[in-house]
């Protein structure tokens, strides 16, 4: 221990620089790991539907046709008849899409504060099968419960039944035991005070349409607070969701579907024709970008730090050839010399990690303040510290081995 400290005290600049580098690397690395993890967790949230077999077509009628419900039925029949397609329905929103309707729902109509905002999907009796949702309690919509609905400002009978997600059930009642109970929902919006409906089914999970909106003032509080209403959406602008027999058929069926729909009628605009896998990629594009950027930055940073340590330690070895030679001549083994340099680096790294942890926490607090980021979990700091420590040891190895190869005869030379 003593020779290490003595050597460092005599030439403090080199070790200090290595410590500073380690501290900076740790501060950046642990915060980068935190952000990377945050993004990966967000990206991994399941939508609850069979994404690989689904695609969506947004259909907009030209002019103001009066027979939209009949046209939608014709379109759906045409889509279902496509080879490779196994189901289709018309709706207002789809998971991983951009648009979302959200309305309040509560079990206690007298207490407005119990109201929970939920993402709303219009669905018919096919929808559960098309989306691949897992019903964990209750039943699906009956055919005769499904009405046609032509838009937010049109008048319509209140729904007879609703299906909600398990998470929404737990939000409504802590025990989640809401099957068969009456809930009050703010739908249809023209009803004013809302309408009373029976919860007939509970599905395992279904993500709200615009997941980014979760937690925002006008959005649901969690990304799984969704419910299904028994309406076939027959508005001027609506989505057709189509399920294919296998994931490989999504592309071909999607192509065939647009030509088929144009063959039925040209007086329309078809846009946002996309598979749900594409929708997912688009939705998380910026998250993925951030992850790639941070991984690249971290890799570059680690490489730079490693090279820096190699460079500095090598120079230091060169400076102390005589000193090493004397130690060798006095009986120190090669292994002892390697150990000396490794121990030196360990000491420096520990100092750097101490400073770096402080710096990491400071940077994290600042990021929380500015960007509402999560608190730095100690696990990231520990993981970062371990990585930096191992990196330091690995980077020291080569110069240390070179030091060990200094012959004892060096002690007798003047340089």
């Amino acid at each position: 221990m003593h020779p290490i400290l003595a050597a460092m005290r005599r030439n403090a600049l080199g070790p200090a620089l290595i410590a500073v580098q380690i501290a900076l690397t740790l501060a950046i690395l642990s915060n980068a790991l935190l952000i990377i993890n945050e993004r990966l967790v967000a990206m991994a949230r399941p939508s609850g539907v069979d994404e690989s077999r689904l695609f969506v077509i947004e259909n907009q009628w030209m002019g103001k046709p009066t027979d939209v419900p009949a046209r939608v039925q014709t379109d759906l029949a045409a889509l279902r008849s496509l080879p490779g397609a196994v189901g289709a329905y018309a709706t207002n929103a789809y998971p991983l899409g951009e648009r979302m309707w959200s309305f309040g729902i509560t079990l206690d109509p007298d207490d407005k504060s119990t109201q929970i905002l939920a993402g709303m999907y219009l669905a018919d009796s096919n929808s559960l099968r098309v989306l691949g949702l897992q019903l964990i309690a209750g039943r699906n919509f009956n055919r005769d419960e499904v009405q046609s609905y032509s838009g937010l400002f049109s008048t319509v009978q209140p729904p007879d039944a609703i299906i909600i997600t398990r998470q929404l059930a737990q939000q409504l009642a802590p025990d989640g035991n809401v099957l068969g109970r009456l809930a009050t929902i703010g739908f249809p919006p023209t009803s004013g005070s809302g309408s009373s409906v029976r919860i007939v089914g509970i599905v395992k999970s279904l993500q709200i349409a615009n997941v980014d909106a979760a937690g925002l003032p006008q959005g649901p509080r969690t990304s799984n607070s969704s419910l299904l209403l028994p309406y076939r959406f027959a508005a001027a602008d609506s989505y057709y969701v189509v399920r294919t027999a296998s994931p490989a058929q999504v592309g071909p069926v999607m192509k065939a579907a647009t030509s088929k729909l144009y063959a039925v009628s040209r007086a329309r605009v078809l846009r946002n024709v996309e598979s749900l896998s594409t929708a997912r990629r688009g939705k998380y594009r910026s998250d993925r970008g951030q992850v790639i950027m941070l991984v690249a930055v971290s890799a570059v940073l680690l490489a730079m730090t490693a090279w820096g340590i190699v460079g500095l330690t090598s120079c230091w070895v060169n400076q102390r050839r005589r000193h090493i030679g004397i130690r060798r001549a006095l009986g120190a083994t090669r292994a002892a010399i390697v150990r000396q340099f490794q121990a030196e680096n360990l000491l420096i790294a520990v100092a750097g990690i101490a400073a770096g942890t402080g710096l990491a926490i400071a940077a994290n607090l600042w990021l929380i303040d500015r960007f509402q980021m999560d608190h730095l979990d100690y696990r990231y700091a520990v993981l970062g510290a371990i990585v930096v420590l191992l990196l330091g040891q690995a980077a020291t190895l080569w110069p240390a081995l070179r030091a060990a190869s200094v012959p004892p005869a060096e002690a007798t030379r003047t340089v």
Binding site: L13, Q21, T25, M62, E98, P217, Q290, G311, C315
Partner: protein, 443 residues
């Protein structure tokens, strides 16, 4: 003398090629990363209309009164970003000391003249004739419509160059008709490439992301009751009978319109502010509000700031890049130190043969600066690469417009030379303090 120093520097760099490469790499990577993100940041936070940003103003009126839920308003001061139809109508009728243009974005179905093409759904901006002169929109063919067309609620349209290319193969389409929704519009002008970034006059998200490719008279859009594309903030909606009743009713308190005023002088700004305040007070006295609503008047830069236009991803990227730059500098400094300190031997020889301390210091500085130059070259190359990569990664549409200009290059070179000199200052100084006699004795 400089030539001699340069020669010495080059020789000395060649002596330790690995360390030299490492130093250049350290500086280059740091500069490359920070230049890339800085260019993105400048684009995202840039001035979209430099010539006029201090003369264009957006008025605001706080229609969210006592019973209104402010949680739904995302601005810092809780004032709705947009204006109601009734307020826009009233403000347009004020005897304002400058041009005013009201506007909103709507989706229209375009039937291409070529029957082979399928119909398109595109974003159209409903606004007044003043829009084109206020925002200095360049025209390729034709001209904007005039006040007469505004007054006549005429079905005329100005289209973008890109749409003209798509529908008419780039030929002069002025005078032709274009079917929007179910109506024929006469094309009066084709604008040249024009895309202010960010689109300061309407920062609302959503819409069709196609950008503004069609422009039609506001008065005509109101006649046709064209629906707004980008959300309606309703604070006292009244009966929900139809979207157009929410938008255009003089009773509903739904804010969804943008209004811009051109106020060329300080006196005009002052005058408009007075008019706006007086209007708000009058609305209170007629019983519409329980107290006099707050009013605000912000110019383009204040408006962008107020709306937080720079996306947080970009800010985080800038911070990360600069943290990387600092780490790279610490690294370069370490290597430079490590490289210079053992060289006291040959410095002693030069000192003993007559070189002054200043000469040694300057010569070492030349060497470090040279590293900086090479570092900046590498940094610029990396920044060019980073620019390509960042386009793929970040979601901001405006990134397509990220460019490096001469100033960026100058900043990069200056920054990296400064960096290198800063990093080399201490070791260089140490070297120049070498006592020749002491060192030579050991030799």
């Amino acid at each position: 003398m400089f030539g001699y120093y340069l020669n010495l520097a080059l020789r000395s760099l060649q002596r330790t090629p690995a360390l030299t490469v490492l130093m250049i790499l350290a500086i280059g990577v740091g500069i490359g990363a920070s230049m890339t993100t800085l260019a993105i940041f400048r684009t995202a936070a840039g001035d979209p209309i430099p010539a006029k940003s201090a003369q264009l103003f957006a008025p605001q009126i706080d229609i969210c009164g006592a019973n209104c839920n402010r949680r739904n308003i995302r601005t810092d001061d809780g004032i709705p970003v947009h204006l109601t139809y009734r307020d826009v109508r009233a403000l347009m009728r004020l005897n304002a000391p400058g041009m005013q243009a009201a506007m909103y974005s709507t989706g229209v179905t375009v039937t291409p003249p070529n029957p082979q093409l399928y119909p398109l759904q595109l974003e159209a901006r409903a606004t007044g004739a003043a829009f084109f002169s206020m925002f200095e929109v360049p025209f390729r063919y034709g001209a904007p419509w005039g006040r007469q067309e505004d007054a006549a609620h005429a079905p005329v349209v100005v289209i973008s160059r890109a749409l003209n290319d798509r529908l008419f193969g780039g030929t002069n389409s002025v005078g032709k008709t274009l079917r929007l929704n179910t109506e024929e519009y006469r094309i009066v002008g084709v604008i040249d490439t024009w895309q202010p970034v960010p689109r300061f006059y309407d920062l609302s998200p959503g819409g069709l992301n196609s950008g503004d490719v069609l422009f039609i008279p506001f008065t005509h859009a109101v006649d046709m009751q064209l629906p707004t594309n980008s959300g309606l903030g309703c604070y006292n909606p009244g009966p929900l009978t139809s979207l157009s009743s929410l938008q255009f009713s003089l009773a509903s308190e739904c804010a969804w319109l943008q209004l811009w005023v051109e106020l060329p002088t300080a006196a005009a700004v002052q005058r408009y502010r007075q008019l706006l305040t007086a209007y708000a007070a009058e609305q209170h006295s007629t019983g519409r509000f329980r107290s006099t609503p707050r009013v605000r008047l912000r110019d383009v830069k204040q408006w962008l700031d107020y709306n937080h236009v720079v996306p947080p991803e970009v800010r985080v990227a800038v911070i990360v890049a600069f943290a990387l730059l600092i780490a790279c500098l610490a690294n370069a400094m370490g290597i430079i130190t490590a490289r210079f300190l053992p060289r006291t031997g040959d410095v002693s020889v030069r000192r003993a043969t007559g070189a002054t301390r200043t000469a040694i210091f300057l010569q070492s500085l030349v060497e470090v600066a040279l590293i900086g130059v090479f570092g900046s070259l590498l940094g610029l190359m990396l920044a060019g690469l980073g620019q390509q990569v960042s386009r793929l990664l970040l979601p901001v549409n405006e990134l397509e417009l990220v460019r490096f200009d001469g100033a960026d290059v100058a900043i990069a070179v200056a920054l990296s030379i400064m960096t290198a000199i800063l990093a080399g200052l201490y070791p260089t100084w140490r070297m120049s303090r070498v006592q020749p006699a002491l060192q030579l004795k050991v030799q």
